[in-house]
């Protein structure tokens, strides 16, 4: 008995200890720091209670960042969901060249957000004169657009959303492909016998309901990933002059608060705690909503 316990900890111990040190300790520390006035210091002495939380919630830039996230996910979640499902449905039916198309759509996942941001910012959506988008629009006689700095209408969203769509759609396509392959062919045969027309009817009554578990997972992952958006926003919009006041998602804002000029770690930690709470609530509500965890079907 002893012997087994010892072996259990030999196998699990190093991992569990590391996880505790690099996840639980920072979490606790974050909570601690958030109640202190901690400028440029990690061992603060001035306890200020909930002041950091109050100033964070009153801070227009922080609440704006939450709005930015909301708008961003309202675009990116349905768009990625629809595109990756459509890709999966089209690729799944292919008899020839399936591997080729799957690879092409999956390939962007090998690209980093930094590299993609570079191509989007300096090549496709370059506002100055040599961007691909402006060149193509020029053929139709359109004016040149400064994509990333035009806020009315907010063209910058087009740049941000298409980038992420390109980068992540292939990954979710693979999840949908796995889901599609698990659907029993007998269901389709039964539908055909019942006279369901291939196409929309079969999709609506068989394919889509059978993909429920996959859909729930995909939407959940998309929302969580949207919450953590940082790389492309930072690389698309910041330059030597700083970051523009718009399109600042929560992580970008926290990055500048905690690690920027002021190094206000207490305020940054309070923001992180608020963000963590929001993510937890959103995740739980969503899971409930989709009935995740309930055993059914």
């Amino acid at each position: 008995m002893r012997h087994r316990t010892l072996w259990f900890w030999i196998f699990v111990g190093p991992f569990a200890a590391g996880l505790a040190l690099f996840t639980y300790v920072p979490l606790a520390w974050s909570l601690y720091l958030s109640f202190f006035d901690a400028h440029n210091t990690v061992s603060p002495t001035h306890f200020i209670g909930f002041d950091n939380y109050a100033s964070m919630l009153r801070d227009g830039a922080f609440t704006d960042s939450l709005w930015t996230f909301t708008v961003f996910s309202l675009f990116i979640v349905p768009a990625t969901y629809a595109l990756s499902l459509a890709l999966a449905l089209m690729v799944n039916r292919l008899r020839a060249a399936q591997a080729f198309f799957r690879s092409v759509f999956f390939l962007p996942a090998a690209c980093s957000y930094v590299v993609a941001a570079l191509v989007w910012k300096l090549s496709i959506f370059n506002g100055v004169r040599f961007g691909l988008a402006n060149t193509v629009l020029g053929w139709f006689g359109s004016d040149q657009t400064a994509w990333l700095s035009t806020t009315h209408p907010p063209w910058y969203w087009l740049v941000i959303v298409t980038l992420r769509l390109w980068l992540q759609a292939g990954f979710y396509m693979v999840l949908f492909l796995a889901g599609l392959q698990r659907i029993s062919p007998q269901l389709y045969e039964a539908a055909a016998v019942d006279g369901a027309r291939p196409g929309w009817q079969v999709f609506r009554h068989i394919t889509f309901p059978q993909l429920r578990a996959t859909s729930v997972a995909v939407v959940l992952l998309l929302v969580i990933n949207a919450f953590q958006a940082f790389d492309e926003f930072y690389n698309l919009l910041s330059d030597a002059r700083g970051y523009p006041p718009y399109a600042r998602p929560p992580l970008v804002y926290l990055y500048y608060t905690a690690l920027g000029q002021g190094q206000n770690l207490g305020l940054g930690s309070a923001g992180a705690v608020i963000l963590a709470l929001i993510i937890a609530v959103v995740t739980i509500v969503q899971a409930r909503w989709f009935g995740l965890g309930r055993r059914e079907d």
Partner: protein, 290 residues
């Protein structure tokens, strides 16, 4: 083939529709594939073009001249530690992959196969951290790492990222389904947990190791926020941070920037093309879609 009871005329009509639908789908797929490949092409085009070609108001699909010397120029530029950044990224990605796979597989095996009274509690403690988005803890993690004095060190860039609850979860799920007979045979042969693990379990679980390994490798190579926060000194830049300081700088040598980006995705493209089967299998097997 549509099965209808309404006679051959309609059936033939349906067939024509189905064929038209299929043709449309293939045209659409080819168009989408072209769209998906354009950014890769632009990366290569701009990386190998002359400065004039890139910034010319008359944009052309093919550059007028291929400048292979751009690659040498990139590595000769003293302003950007490109070689150093690539080396850092390679070291970090390899170390992170090996470390994560080792630690997570051991833990996953222990959780799945070594009976212990509180194993479930430990497992939920690990699983719970999956709910905590890593990015939200970056402020306190930064604080912790700076307290340890690990800012701008490879240690600081590697060690905190080694403990992936996600990888541990996948290994546990996999080992739960590992054939018990193989392990029983090992037991009969007098092997303990340690030797059973190394001699029986690991050699028979190559696909899951490959899948988790490639996923971790890709994540480590492409990571940005953590290296940006921790790798403050030029000597600790990863290739992503180096590229980023390029894009956010005022004056940029634009073709150098593009060739740098192209060079930075080359290792991953190779990994992708060689190991695609494993990656796809790994994503599918990740258990996230139940």
């Amino acid at each position: 083939m549509a099965r209808t009871r309404t006679g051959t005329t309609i059936a033939r009509h349906d067939d024509a529709l189905v064929r038209a639908g299929r043709a449309l789908r293939i045209v659409l797929l080819i168009a989408l594939a072209a769209l998906f490949l354009i950014p890769f092409y632009l990366l290569l085009r701009n990386g190998l073009a002359t400065e004039q070609d890139i910034t010319s108001p008359q944009w052309t699909f093919f550059p007028s001249d291929l400048q292979w010397s751009n690659i040498r120029e990139l590595f000769d530029d003293p302003a950007v530690p490109m070689a150093r950044s690539l080396l850092n990224s390679a070291l970090i990605a390899v170390a992170t992959t090996l470390g994560t796979v080792l630690l997570a597989s051991l833990a996953g095996y222990g959780l799945a196969r070594i009976p212990y009274r509180h194993a479930n509690k430990v497992f939920y403690g690990i699983l719970g951290t999956l709910m905590v988005p890593a990015a939200v803890t970056f402020v306190p993690s930064f604080v912790l790492v700076s307290t340890l004095g690990w800012i701008s060190t490879l240690r600081g860039l590697i060690i905190p990222t080694l403990f992936s609850a996600f990888a541990c979860f996948i290994f546990r799920q996999y080992f739960l389904g590992f054939p018990q007979e193989l392990e029983d045979a090992a037991k009969v042969d007098g092997l303990g947990y340690w030797r059973t693990y190394w001699r029986i379990v690991v050699p028979n679980s190559r696909p899951v190791f490959a899948a988790v390994g490639t996923i971790v490798f890709i994540g480590a190579w492409n990571a940005f926020l953590w290296p940006l926060v921790i790798g403050q000194d030029k000597s600790a830049w990863t290739v992503q941070v180096a590229l980023s300081t390029f894009t956010t700088a005022q004056v940029v040598n634009i073709h150098e920037l593009f060739i740098a980006a192209a060079v930075s995705i080359l290792p991953l493209l190779l990994v992708f093309l060689l190991l695609q089967r494993h990656i796809v299998a790994g994503v599918e097997r990740s258990g996230i879609d139940d």
